[in-house]
Amino acid sequence: MTFAVETQQLRYQAGKNFALTDVNLRVPVGSIYGFLGPNGAGKTTTIRLLLGLLRAEGGTITVLGESMPAAYVTVLGRVGYVPDRPHVHPSLTVGESMELHAAFYMRWDARWAGELQRQFRLVDDRRVGSLSKGETGKLMMLLALAQQPELLVLDEPTDGLDPVVRRDVLEAVLGYVSDRQASVLISSHLVHELERICDWIGVMDRGDLMAELPMRDFKNGIKRLYVTGAPELVGETPFTILSRAPMNGSAEQWLVRGWEPEMRGHVESIGAVVTDVIDLDLEDGFVELLRSFRDKR
């Protein structure tokens, strides 16, 4: 598998209270990779490191096969970036912003930019500073898409947008990806949004990349098991026990990853019985994963 983004042992210290520690992130080429984590987890910092906006203190970063930040000029020409906060000059009009942006990108598609402008209903001579949050989000997405990037890096692109605008923006991204086979790294703390569009997921918390797996594994693999008669020491299991919580009597609640129905036999072989298996949706899975990860620390 080749990767649009790959980091190895990436480290960065921001002040006294926050650090990225040995982040190994891999975004497969052609995938829509959801970068999930609570606020302050380090998603934006990681993205800024990937794009050379910050300097890492250790580790390596490869984006579209090029080493970062050494090759930032080449890489940034192939990456469409929508930051978490509006970065477009507020005193320029929509048309001027597009003109300025076009001057820096060799592959700027003026015709398609015009189409997106009509689709997003962005008026040419409106000042960026006077646009609503939704319109600003659309403009930033337009700028990122019309440069025809091989990789889209979207940092909370729909945060604070109403459902209609959010749908417009995500549809534009999905349309682009299906047309051009681009890769997407999209960070968000809106779990359901990522569930709909992503095929890979990375979960970050407090500067650690806790999990990175295909979305289907994440969705299907995390279960809540109700177990009775389990011994204190379970030993090796074919699935991962993320957490164990006692209930009434000998009953326990297990949070597991990698569960398959035929694994009931293994549980019975250690003298326990699985009384119920609950599928967790992505949000529950995310929250439980986060909780178990924090408990372990």
Binding site: H87, V88, H89, S91, E96, L100, A103, F104
Partner: protein
């Protein structure tokens, strides 16, 4: 690329440039009109030298405004837009710098034209000479120096700007303390001499700024 930068920067700078053009065009004409009937050549030279401070101040103000306005929008967005562009950072700085220099030109040209008109339409006492070109060239250099200095400060981080401000404060506090201790140390005066005297970085601002001289 330069055209796009020039166009956007013009939007942020045009008011300052327009004001500078008006003032630069007015000053030589006003200075000559105010001294249309001088009591003596010496009085005329003294009066014209008094206007000199105005040219120096205008050059400094023009450089300051054009430099600060070149970066203000980038500062507001924490430079994220600029840093995410596929252009070498030194090149982006040069583009902004080049655009700034272009915006110094209208005021310089206005001053040159006005100085030429003022000196050619007013009688100059015998023994004195008009120096419209020399004044314009000096003004251009001064504006360029001010622009370069303030551009570098504006381009730097808030911390770097803080260091510069801190250094100025240290000099002022040191002067205050030595004065209070009864020591006759001219710290501020020395600092000003170093900056303003040849070959100090601001030497172009000192000396004679006069349209009419011997």
């Amino acid at each position: 690329m330069f055209k796009a930068i020039l166009k956007t920067q013009w939007k942020w700078t045009r008011l300052a440039v327009f004001l500078a053009v008006v003032v630069a065009f007015t000053m030589p004409l006003l200075s000559m009109n105010a001294n249309a009937l001088p009591e003596s050549p010496r009085t005329l030279i003294t009066n014209m030298q008094a206007w000199g401070a105005g040219y120096a101040l205008l050059a400094a103000a023009l450089g300051l405004l054009v430099a600060v306005l070149a970066w203000s929008s980038d500062h507001r967005g924490h430079h994220v837009y600029a840093l995410a562009l596929p252009v070498a950072r030194w090149r982006y700085v040069l583009l902004r710098f080049g655009a700034g220099i272009v915006f110094l030109l209208p005021a310089i040209i206005a001053l040159g034209i006005s100085a030429e008109i003022a000196t050619s339409t007013h009688p100059i006492p015998q023994g004195l000479h008009a120096y419209p070109l020399a004044l314009t060239v000096r003004f251009a250099f001064a504006a360029l120096v001010a622009f370069a200095v303030f551009f570098a400060i504006s381009a730097a981080s808030a911390r770097a700007a803080g260091y510069i401000l801190g250094a100025i404060c240290v000099v002022l506090v040191a002067q205050f303390l030595t004065d209070a201790a009864g020591l006759n140390w001219q710290i501020v005066s020395h600092a000003v001499d170093i900056l303003m005297g040849y070959p100090g970085i601001l030497a172009v601002f000192s000396g004679r700024w006069t349209l009419i001289d011997v």
